[in-house]
Amino acid sequence: MTTPRPETLAKLTPVLTKRWLSPDAWRIGTYEQLDGYAALRKALKAHPDDLIQLIKDSGLRGRGGAGFPTGLKWGFIPQGDGKPHYLVVNADEGEPGTCKDLPLMTHDPHALVEGVIIASYAIRASRAYIYIRGEAVHAARRLRNAVQEAYDKGYLGRNILRSGYDLELVVHSGAGAYICGEETALLDSLEGFRGQPRLRPPFPATHGLYASPTVVNNVGTIASVPPIVLGGADWWKSMGTEKSSGPMIYSLSGRIVNPGQYECSMGVTLRELLELAGGMQPGHNLRFWTPGGSSTPLLAAEHLDVPLDFEGVAAAGSILGTTATQIFSDQDCPVYATYRWLEFYHHESCGKCTPCREGNYWMVRVYRRILAGQGTHEDLDTLLDTCDNILGRSFCGLGDGATSSVTSSLKYFKQDYLDYIEGRTAPKLSEKTLVGAH
């Protein structure tokens, strides 16, 4: 394997991942030796408003996909309103391709716990919840252990470090529903209901958990708080681009030599990431990829030099999302890939709104027909028409996300569809019972 060039290596910015190499960083003693809880001591001496301002100054944007400015979100919480405030961490990592929060919580859980305490102090919350994906059992083990250690050391509970500040933190396991990664569905689930999204407004900032002001942040966002508190906003902004500051964990998977987690300065390109990851596997040529999970429109080989920050990816017609970079080659079929993603959205649609529930159901069937070699040219119009009726018309972003791979694969790889329809590609599925009228 050839060594990446120095200028490419310089894109690496180990900040959130830096403790992962210490095998015991999940224990509080080791964590404390590695800057652990130093940020908390520092933060508790500052005024909460100054912490909110610090996060605003850092330009930190949400790491869960939408990229909303974190400091702004914290600032939305009305203060002095006499209501309890809540911090809820969205640890329901489930976007296909995304695998950055689980390792963080498994190997450095105290980073999240410390971030939770600081963020809760800033927004004046006395209760916080980490809603962790049910299947993430090992991360939850480590996280529950970390929370217990933090209680034992006086970092959680009453009168934290004798500051007079109290915080209770509960780790709450979900039960296997992708939709609970949507923040309002997550709140409903945390309240003990089916995880279905809520109408907004009112927004969680005023009517979140238990109808009280609530901040919902992703794991990576909250874990970014301690390093910002320590190193300052200017240091944080020395990484990334002007509007997308800081480091980001890029999760590379697929047909590459060294798949894995690469924490880089935001704005790194796929070409550079591939260089870091040892390039494509022998015999594979890059054909299509997702910049941020399956809900972001596919990009193609022509997008190798798109800067992977919020603005750069949007300008290329996709979305940065969770920086889950799934890389597919000329040996993978974009039609089949899209079909599998649609099966996922069909399965995970919560059923609350018609466009998503019905649209995905039917699109899956159209794909099966195409992949069974029995598709028609009209099917392609039907797919686009269905997407038109889902995108922007479904209750939450899940429906929108489902259309991403359909419309983008039809845009870049229509010939692949036609090859199935016109019999040049051998059928990939043998479906005997085909549905639909034509």
Binding site: P78, G192, S238, Y262, G317
Partner: protein
């Protein structure tokens, strides 16, 4: 109706409920459903009744929740739940073949259990380990980079009474034992929390940085946190000095955070949060996007108006305090304007799901003649 649950389970149920605020015990429902699975291996009618009883809900309310989530099983399960990821990435890397082989080898299909009661097989959606693909889990602990033959090896060992060690994660326990942990209790097994170091893919970027001595320069953990109080003092001083010279109002904003404009306490500061207003869900006309923008991007921006716009108060942006009402007020206004009919969730039911909420919305929309806004708001919301 009496249930069969043990005293230990009842005691645990009390502990679970105590984690949540006193008047919000329903939050305990998900962990309680895990708890009843820990005793019975699935959510049985008795389990539903138990949850209903301890939370003061009716069985239909509990059943509605239990049937929504994939991890609550509705039939008895085996000791080991084998889940094979067949989502796109694992699928193309060989996950489908692993699943098909296991199904044939075990003679069961999705969500079915072998006759000896050992193994329940399922195909799973993305398990968040794509850099290790194709993956499968046993009772949710990872076996990475499997192929058909290693997967068959694992299930054979399980059926023979062995406990193969996961590639990452703790040594295996039974599915019922795992459900206790899912209900929020610590893994009591000696050393289990320490099991499972990071695999190579997790560390790759980090190792590369370490090998080549790459780190982020300029990190000083003692960087002071700027204090607004002090900045204000400085600003006041500057202003006084300025006033002495010539009355101009600008510099205050420059020195420190916008006065009163942090949005945290006083409703003044943040710019075009635009947020509540724009994000009512209207996909509509007010978003002007260049034609080459993909519809997905446009929709995402509409849902999250700031997703692609710069952080409004991005560092260095000076913000005139007047032009920038912060969200809380906007949200309140929007609410006052008519969305309020939608009883906020948390008061017992999810937003919009209260009986008659829709009806009330409709009535209110048509009743408030001047409420074009309010009608618009609930309408777009509803459609969206």
């Amino acid at each position: 109706m009496t249930t069969t649950f043990t005293d230990e389970t009842r005691e645990r149920a009390r502990e679970i409920i105590a984690r949540y605020p006193a008047d919000r015990s329903r939050s305990a429902l998900l962990p309680l459903l895990h708890l009843v699975q820990a005793e019975e291996g699935y959510v049985s009618p008795a389990g539903v009744a138990f949850c209903a009883e301890v939370l003061g809900l009716n069985k239909a309310q509990v059943g509605a929740v239990a049937t929504f989530y994939t991890m609550y099983k509705r039939k008895p399960t085996g000791d080991f739940l084998v889940s094979v990821c067949t989502n796109t990435m694992c699928n193309v890397l060989g996950g489908q073949e692993v699943y098909d082989t296991l199904a044939e080898h075990l003679g069961v299909g999705h969500d079915e259990t072998t006759a000896d009661g050992k193994i329940t097989l399922e195909h799973a959606e993305c398990l968040a380990a794509c850099d290790y693909g194709p993956v499968m889990t046993v009772n949710y602990d990872f076996f990475d980079g499997v192929d058909a033959s290693t997967a068959v090896g694992v299930v054979d060992e399980l059926r023979a009474g062995g406990r193969p060690m996961p590639t990452r994660g703790a040594r295996l326990c039974t599915l019922k034992e795992m459900a206790v942990q899912l209900a929020g209790f610590a893994d009591e097994r000696e050393g289990a929390v320490a099991d499972g170091g990071p695999g190579e893919p997790t560390l790759r970027g980090l190792r590369l940085a370490q090998q080549h001595g790459v780190s982020v320069p300029g990190f000083d953990p003692n960087t002071p946190i700027r204090s607004k109080a002090e900045a204000d003092k400085a600003a006041a001083k500057a202003k006084a000095a300025e006033a002495a010279a010539k009355p101009v109002e600008a510099p205050a904003a420059q020195v420190g955070p916008v006065k009163g404009g942090d949005g945290a306490s006083a409703p003044t500061g943040t710019p075009r949060v635009g947020e509540p207003a724009a994000a009512t869900g209207s996909t509509a006309p007010d978003v002007k996007a260049p034609d080459d923008k993909s519809p997905q991007v446009r929709t995402a921006e509409t849902r999250q108006p700031d997703a692609a716009t710069p952080a409004p108060d991005a560092p260095g942006t000076k913000v005139p305090a007047e032009t920038s009402p912060p969200a809380p007020r906007d949200a309140q206004e929007a609410e006052a304007a008519g969305v309020a009919a939608n009883e906020p969730a948390g008061d017992g039911k999810p937003a919009g799901d209260t009986t008659g909420a829709q009806e009330r919305n409709l009535n209110e929309a048509s009743a408030s003649a001047g409420g074009a806004n309010s009608a618009g708001a609930s309408e777009t919301g509803a459609q969206k």
